[in-house]
Amino acid sequence: MASRVAQGLCAYGLIVRMWMRSTLAYRTSFVMMTFGDFVATALDFVAIMLMFSQIEALGGFTLPEVAFLYGTSSVSLGLADLLFGSMERLGRRVRDGTLDTLLLRPAPLLAQVAADRFALRRLGRITQGLLVLGWSVSRLDVDWTVGRMLMVPLMTVCGAAIFAAVFTAGAAFQFWAQDAAEVQNSFTYGGNTMLQYPPTVFARDLVRGVTFVIPLAFVNWLPALRLLGRPDPLGLPGWVDFMGPAVAALMCAGAGLAWRGGVRAYRSTGS
């Protein structure tokens, strides 16, 4: 087991390095794409700032508070997108049959698919999220004890694991649904958009859905509400706010099972 994980990480590293060299061959384009990724997410925040140029609070939350939600969710998604985002291309490989090439290589399939066309430009999104997060932390009226300070990196890492599980489960789904790569965008990019706003904005059923069905609320809402000293709109017991790591582990395990099921169900094109 341990050697297989090591082999997977090694293969992942090799493929990532290969794609980085290939990307840097078109240097101008790479700079533009990284800048583009930065701007793409920055525009979301510009929209929030434009909203706040007209109002004092949205759903009872001030701009630094919304920025905190925005920053934590963006960094989490950015990390997951950098490391696992390429998995959404799996459907294309299933369709055109090039997945068979990957299956023949002596390296774990998951590592190969995750590293496929590794896009370094996604650092743009992470950078932008970190900038907003830093700004919000400097503006928030929170008593920053050591525990609270540690909670911020912990929740972004757990959030990244949750999003990574969604990417993996979405890719596994494509073994059956091939052309449906866009569905997972609802949960990754769509989920990210939702988590950038306070939960008080949304209908209660929607908040229940992202807490109990697809537990994206653990990416940032629940821990962040605790940090900001806000009541959680569903009135869950206090310890739930700290369940992020457990939820992330569970989701990763579930995604791993889904992935296995998907690989087993795979039939090559034409057969």
Binding site: M33, L43, V46, L50, Q54, I55, E56, S186, T193
Partner: protein, 264 residues
Amino acid sequence: MLYTAVAAGSFRRYATYRMATVAGVFTNTVFGFIVAYTYIALWDERPHLGGYDQAQAVTFVWTGQALLASVALLIGGVGELQERIRTGDIAVDLYRPADLQLWWLSADLGRAALQLLGRGVVPMAVGALFFPLALPADALTWACFLLSTTLAVVVSFALRYLVALACFWLLDGSGLAMISGLACMFFSGMVLPLRVFPGGFGELAQLLPWAAMLQVPADVLLGARTGGSLLRGLAFQAMWGVLLLAAGRLVQSAATRKVVVHGG
């Protein structure tokens, strides 16, 4: 006649991507819900922001989701054309007894028509089911909206065609296409209606070509443009369409004079 055949072929081609269409409808609908709730919160704080009431603001959200695929609001180029320029296949296209720009315009109109039906109708219907929307009751306004949407597709194509032609010089145009797509996303009103943008910045944004892609058709649909204002809106779209198509022709003639296909 040739070009209607191209458009029809493109329409049929996109009709075969059924699973992708269903997935797209699902995603557009999810995003519609999320954004609609944030707009409701915003308009709760500031009723009549940008001259819209809350129902109009929510209608704007669902119009954006309905037109997203059809008007290609997040896409900055013409992917296939860029790929053909990069690989050199464009040389074959230039030999054909058809005009390059008209060929791709027809193909894009066929695609847009299918995606308006396939990816526009259902999200709008779901939106109307769950939120009170400000949709017009008379057929004439719907007809104006369709005309405005067609013009929006033409402007969108004309701009993306220009970006794609830049590949003749850049070879890899994905960076430029991305930046152009972002400008489109922001200045079309997809991120926030242009009427909500503050002061002079908002007025400037409403004069740019991207305003013709979502802001104008949405205003037509939700009744913020009637009478003379409606006609001015359509004329504004037509003007940008003609200007950008003309610019595309100029760049096209310059590009085809310099084309050197890899491999000699």
